[in-house]
């Protein structure tokens, strides 16, 4: 699979409160509705102008803080193609996987791109093309890829229990 999209670029330690504000978590249960408030307390431009297929490039510890899955759902429903970060906070890492939102760990791309640049990701080759350069990224760990191949955690569990 290949995707191509415009970059939204952020720094280190972006927390899930600014990705999806706590005040909406009690009242918004509709997934498409969640997408409207994505990154509201971080970047009003993103909240207004992000398009399906766009790609987030961030620093280390993306998604730290609260365990709310809405922080992954709002980006998935917004159509974000992938998040590339130096590292992910562990609870958010699980939530992105569980929502089928592709996440890529890379320390090289941050220096190569700016907001609005176009980036291409070839998931099969494990390669990002940005600013005329190609960067390799590691595949998911084998265990995680197994879950992804089954369609995610829930389909995997249902399959293992003979429910699917």
């Amino acid at each position: 699979m290949k995707i191509k999209g415009r970059v939204w670029k952020y720094g280190d330690d972006v927390n899930t409160d600014v990705i999806f504000a706590g005040k909406y978590t009690y009242t918004i249960k509709d997934r498409a509705e969640m997408a409207k408030y994505a990154l509201e307390d971080l970047d009003a431009d993103f909240t207004k102008n992000a398009h399906a297929g766009d790609i987030i490039v961030a620093g280390k510890n993306w998604g730290c803080g609260s365990s709310r899955e809405q922080a992954a759902i709002c980006l998935k429903e917004r159509g974000i193609g992938a998040i590339i970060a130096r590292s992910f906070a562990r609870i958010h890492y699980r939530n992105c996987l569980n929502e089928g939102l592709p996440i890529i760990i890379s320390s090289e791309i941050q220096a190569l791109v700016e907001k609005g640049d176009e980036v291409e990701i070839d998931f099969d080759a494990g390669e990002i093309t940005a600013g005329g350069k190609k960067i390799k990224f590691p595949p998911y760990p084998e265990f995680v890829q197994g879950l992804v191949n089954d369609g995610g955690l829930l389909p995997h569990v249902k399959k293992s229990l003979g429910l699917a």
Partner: protein, 426 residues
Amino acid sequence: MGKTMIMKIMERAAHKEVHVGERVWCDIDWSTARDFGGANCTLQFDEITEKQGRVWDSDKIAFTFDLQAPSHSEKVSNNQKIIREFAKRQGIKHVFDINHGIGQHVLLENGLVKPGDVILGTDSHMNLLGGVAAFATGVGNTDIAASWLSGTNWFRVPETMKIEATGEFQCGVSMRDFLTRLVGDLGAGGLDFLAVEFAGDAIERSTLAERITLCSMVTEMSGKIGLILPNGPVLEWLAGRAGPEVRSRVASIAPDADAPYIETRKYDVSKLEPLASCPDAPDNVKTVREIAGTPVDQVHIGSCSNGRFEDIAAAFAVLEKSGFKVSPSVRTIITPATNEVMRRCASEGLIEKFLDAGIVFTNPTCALCTAEHYGALPGGDVGCSTTNRNFIGKVGKGSHTYLLSPMTAMATAVKGVITDPRDIIC
């Protein structure tokens, strides 16, 4: 090579030998959800099972109503109702409704948590239960819903860092200050994917409340779990609540002498002074002396990190030395972690004195950790709090928060500006 505590916990839950770095399926002892996120879990479970599904074990699921207790709006009330109806339909009896307090603390006080347990919850501070050597972690609704189907979930066996704390705290300094030092030193992502074992004589002497403070804030360094092996009075208390099995569990998960640690950090807590996490991140750490004199609008003492009786009593001692008066320019709010804590505050006469001083003493709840409940700050206000996060906008758009120890928070409430508690009590 020996084994760390988290390796032994995961071996018990996975029924096999585990190795650092591998991913293993673990049996879940408790899969919990609170009013925050709980409705999403139940709706997702019903959706994937077409409303026909039964949970794997209704005696291993608990609901805690703590974030919006009591509910402040019709929408929240409807969310809470969804959870109550699901629990009834599934025969889930462990429903701790709005009259109990903060979920992890309530589970602990009710004797439902044992060392070595594997526990999931929709609260990123579940890992405060590491204070009694349980492996508890916050997760999203999909992880909860999946565990309700199978009674299992997967985890990476983490590397472990050892943090040794020795010495005694000086007057006016507390475990919260040590924790703030750690967050400042390690940074917001400093423990990402890691387990931590806290050891050393300062830890061995510490109270349950102090252990909870320390382990709850591992989340603010993105850590997986902070673990402290129960000993002394904490072990006695826990065995009294959760039963004699606690003792054999402790023995079975004690780390080996040659357990592998990726790093050992040593601290002498007697060298610490009062510290603060400054706006707008827990790892933006300064000494209270550096920021003393900063005017504040509101002080809040409470939360899953510092809402135990001992925390409130430490604040009380500062108030007592100040003639039981807080500054009229500051709104001061105290929130006990649980009903049990609140009752003790009442029976020991603390609440009456707090009320006399002009302090708002609330029911037990997490409420002041969110902008969507009472105590929210208006734009431009400066708050001081013993909660665990001061991310921008968290308790009100355009407001800023300093995170402090209960003693520093009360000293600040008394003076109306950020104040080193040593100026009052030492």
